[in-house]
Symmetry: C2
DNA sequence: ACGTGGTGTTGAAGCGCTTCGACTCCCTCT
DNA sequence: AGAGGGAGTCGAAGCGCTTCAACACCACGT
């Protein structure tokens, strides 16, 4: 292993000079810098991460807590994770992957050991048990998702309330008077995951304002449960002509079952999905959808974390990304509308 | 920040004693140990990761390289990643997430800096450009996937050759004489990803042995491309009655399109999928499938890495998991078979 | 009584890096 | 000409931990 001291000797300078060449924290004359850089290359020197972390009390690592659940909005999670990793690298950070499984213990471990300089937490619940720990931590934190109380927190999320309202608007504009919401799996609501409840709230409020009837049914992503859910919806509200789907996994089953039942999309029923662009464009019908900007969320979260580390970002800051609805082939005028 | 020295003072022992209590590398009398443990709890002490890494030259971190591509076998990747993270934790390791984007540079950075103790590399290509670097690294490596040349490497993978053969066997047993393989996207073959080519090889060889005709067509995961692929298949081989699908994303489109064309599964055509269990059981038809044991692969990879770190594992070791085919509702006797 | 071999504990020497203060030049301003 | 100051470099003091060699102690066998 080549050490900084060896580089210094090879270049004929002191260790501190090499360090300053590396960090740029002091000015170094061009000839010296070149000599040092040449020695670094020649010896194949790489700074030792542990020593660096110890001396500077900075690890250049960002911790990312992702939920363990493999059965839920996986593509979104993965997309966020990759955006986080990529953005982090562009700022000189590496990413430590923590699974939600450990919960608060993981937070304690990371903050206590100084393993990471900052944390990014996904899949935040309204009353998340990790919040008190994160508040108390030395390291800055950024949440992807919104807890009930955001005092003193930095959060990034899609504005799901506005998303719900947007969906309601779109369907109401097209003349739909009875809308069904195919939601996430019941477990998601039981955990009080913010985004699911917020979407619903946005939908309900706007539907109320517009005089549109709204029926919400949670739904697993399988064909069986979608089948059951669909029957119950049409039993209860035979006049339903508009659907809003929030569960990615339920999209294919929904389209498939509607087709089998002889209900044409968008002639008989309109469908609006809340999902990543890719899912919307690859479904059997090109879906009118509100995109979940996974990449953007990951990127923003890292940038906020880095800004907080540099001391140039307020403690409390809630970034809500404005939803955008793209009209595609799955929504149209309600039947009987001129 | 509480340091080990403070704990030592508080407990009335030397720093080294505290260290030995923590690591268990020397015997400590029960009373002393209890005193130290009590002090640790009382002061809320957490060892500093950087200092530890520096002094012991062990970071207790495993690096995991995942491909960047978000559009490909995402659920499998995610499942492996989570299994890796979980298993690693149970061995006292954390996981550093590296995206494939950086390629060899990431390998150099991690091995050079001693950031991680070992590496787990996913999505290995047959002639992977990272291999030479991994060979030269101080840190042990485990590959998930098989490169062309495995000399001196530790690899874990599903036996895809056997998987292909198994699928061919199953369909042949049911009397199918013309089989179509709906493969991964063309890009996957262009990159010479081992598993795709191996599956095909297994299929071809066994089909040849059994006198079954085999047609292979790469396919993207969208409806459009599936539609095109399907037409070409039936144009070229109208007698096709068996399908093997390897691209997860293509499964739903395939089933959907077959249904629309009036071809019943499994009465008219049989479908065998190579995918995770969950995908097979949640599709519109419960699919006969060979499971991709993502969790198992992740777990094994970590265990091998840990074993190598402990010096109790051979340098070269290829672990091929035996495929298992589960018969479900998508495969049956070929039409016209008694 | 004495050596012997465990067992439990300690002091001190680093691990490889960052960073602070100090020093030396040399240029500029008055 | 002398003060003042910026630029470039260095030495040394740690950062918090691990680990090695060494020591003290006790119980044992002879």
């Amino acid at each position: 292993m080549v050490t900084l001291a060896e580089v210094a000797r090879h270049a004929g300078v002191s260790a501190s000079t090499v360090s300053y060449v590396l960090s740029g924290k002091r000015s170094i004359s061009a000839p010296t810098r070149e000599r040092v850089e040449h020695s670094i290359k020649e010896l194949g020197y790489h700074p030792n991460a542990g020593a660096r972390a110890l001396a500077s009390s900075r690890s250049n690592i960002l911790a990312l807590m992702v939920p363990l659940r493999t059965d839920m909005y996986v593509p979104v999670m993965m997309e966020i994770a990759i955006a986080v990793a990529t953005t982090a690298r562009s700022h000189g950070y590496d990413v430590l992957l923590l699974t939600g499984e450990e919960g608060p213990a993981a937070v304690r471990r990371v903050t206590g050991s100084g393993l990471a300089d900052a944390m990014i937490v996904m899949d935040v619940e309204l009353e998340d048990e990790r919040l008190p720990l994160l508040h108390a931590a030395r390291q800055p934190t950024v949440l992807i998702g919104l807890p009930a109380d955001t005092v003193g927190l930095t959060c990034v999320d899609l504005d799901f309330t506005a998303t719900g309202a947007l969906c309601a608007d779109h369907l109401a504009d097209l003349g739909h008077r009875e809308i069904a919401v195919v939601g996430e799996a019941p477990a998601v609501y039981e955990r009080h995951t913010g985004f699911a409840e917020r979407t619903l709230e946005g939908l309900r409020r706007r539907a109320g304002e517009l005089g549109v009837r709204l029926l919400h049914r949670p739904c697993e992503g399988s064909y069986e449960s979608m089948d059951g859910t669909l029957s119950r919806i049409f039993d209860e509200r035979p006049g339903t002509t508009g659907f809003v789907v929030q569960n990615e996994a339920a999209i294919d089953p929904l389209l498939s079952l509607l087709r089998r039942q002889g209900r044409a999309v968008p002639e008989d029923v309109s469908v609006v999905a809340i999902c990543p662009e890719q899912v919307a464009t690859q479904a059997s019908v090109r879906l009118t959808s509100v995109a979940i900007p996974a990449q953007e969320m990951g990127r923003r979260a890292v940038e906020l974390a880095v800004a907080k580390l540099a001391g140039r970002a307020p403690e409390e800051q809630v970034t809500l990304l404005a939803p955008e609805l793209t009209v595609r082939a799955s929504s149209g005028p309600a039947p009987g509308t001129s």
